[in-house]
Symmetry: C2
Subunit: 246 residues, 2 copies
DNA sequence: CGGTTATCCGTACAGTGTACGGAAGGAGTC
DNA sequence: GACTCCTTCCGTACACTGTACGGATAACCG
């Protein structure tokens, strides 16, 4: 049933300007929808409904669902603040910056998984990369060693936060979430003979994610500091066992 | 059309024993299917077809598609060898072990993304965790610092390999893959003014993933070595800015 | 006025996960 | 042998998915 398009326009004041949709509007709606429903819950139909548009209208601005996910990813990354760390020594600056990254990834729990599974070439992602690259370059790293250090930091933040979100899971209730972790801990203890070290030191009940995050981050930062102290690569000692394809 | 169930059994020799399906058979088929079609390509219908069974028969052994993915994840993890690193010093042992992990994650490109997005509590995953925990515990770490070190290593391996697989992408052809990277590099250079450090040091054309992986791994291992040298935590210097929920 | 182009979107198709309920046959009990 | 119960198998159905195709409308340009 096509609605009557041009009836009684004199009743409405300036009802619809020409382009109702846009890449930006779609992106914003996608981020909102992802926050509420998760990656599985973002469908083109729901997204269009949220914008008051027909489903296929989206495809005027967006080439596929994957495209929407790319846009939403870069838009969420844009929320990571990048100012206010100018005067700090490199270690403090990185610590601050990566804590900011984690905060945004907690606000958008779908983000780390998407970041880990696609090349990040959006403008905001590149700007955040540039910041970390520049900080470490000024600290004294360059070339492949610089790239390696950035990778170690980036993957740590993404991995930690992805796992944090996985544990928080679909449970928005912190009590239910704690209960789930308690059960997992019990399961771990029950099978404790098979993995004693794990059972003894891993503490799933602990929910001080902030401190845990910082502890692991300090490991990587210590590694970078060590690299800054040495000129050449550390004594390697063994070649790659069964190297990659080709 | 229900097939005639008991006609002419005397023609067939022992045609079908009772339980044709099993959790193990489903798991093996799922891994095979994931290798060929990826996570998107694994559907319950295709999986059942590959096993010569009806779709709904799977649900006798498996509670959902998510369950299948959990099973496949642990089964793939089981392919990571864990022997033969007994006598080695901790650093060599970890290097070897994590290179093995990467090799398996390259053989099963879907694996790192699944590992990053779910708690890994399967028996084989726990056994691999125990190995890393035990190595670092013997090296001198314990408690939260041990957990943090394991996290830094694990997330690095997962993140690096996920990104490596993302770049390799759907392109099985290494030439097409190199071409894609070359285009991305050009794009990066074109926008080079916005991120000079990135443009100058990141080298997408480089495809020596083995060496790059090792370089980043050495950063994290250096960090662990540094932690082993100190008793207390390194001077922190700044509290968490805007701590997590609750 | 006619033609082009941009925007919107209804319909259709092939495919998805899984709830439900039924059928077949083995096992146990009288 | 007859009865019941339980395990295994799975056909059907439903609500939902991404998106190809082509038609409708209207703004803009000559």
């Amino acid at each position: 049933m096509p609605r009557p398009r041009s009836s009684a326009i004199w009743f409405t004041d300036e009802p619809d300007r020409r382009p109702r949709l846009s890449r930006e509007r779609i992106t914003r709606a996608a981020v909102d929808l992802l926050d509420v429903e998760g990656v599985q819950g973002l469908s083109m139909r729901r997204l269009a409904a949220r914008l008051g548009a027909g489903t296929m209208s989206l495809y005027e601005y967006v080439s596929s669902r994957e495209d929407v996910l790319d846009l939403a990813t870069d838009a969420a990354i844009a929320e990571i603040e990048i100012d206010g760390i100018d005067g700090l020594p490199w270690r403090e600056a990185l610590s601050r910056q990566l804590r900011r990254s984690r905060q945004v990834m907690l606000r958008h729990p779908w983000l780390p998984a998407l970041m880990a599974t696609r090349p990040l070439l959006g403008p905001h992602a590149l700007a955040r990369s540039e910041l970390v690259y520049a900080l470490l370059h000024r600290a004294g790293l360059a070339g492949p060693r610089l790239v390696a250090a950035v990778g170690a930091l980036t993957y740590y933040v993404q991995g930690f936060t992805a796992m944090e979100n996985a544990w928080r899971g679909q449970q928005p209730d912190p009590a239910a979430e704690a209960e789930l972790r308690r059960q997992a801990q019990q399961y771990l203890d029950r099978r404790g003979e098979a993995h004693p070290t794990l059972a003894q030191h891993a503490d799933l009940g602990r929910d001080d994610f902030d401190a845990s995050f910082q502890l692991g981050l300090d490991v990587v930062l210590d590694g970078i500091a060590a690299q800054l102290g040495t000129a050449g690569p550390p004594a390697d000692g063994s070649g790659a066992e069964g190297s990659g394809r080709s």
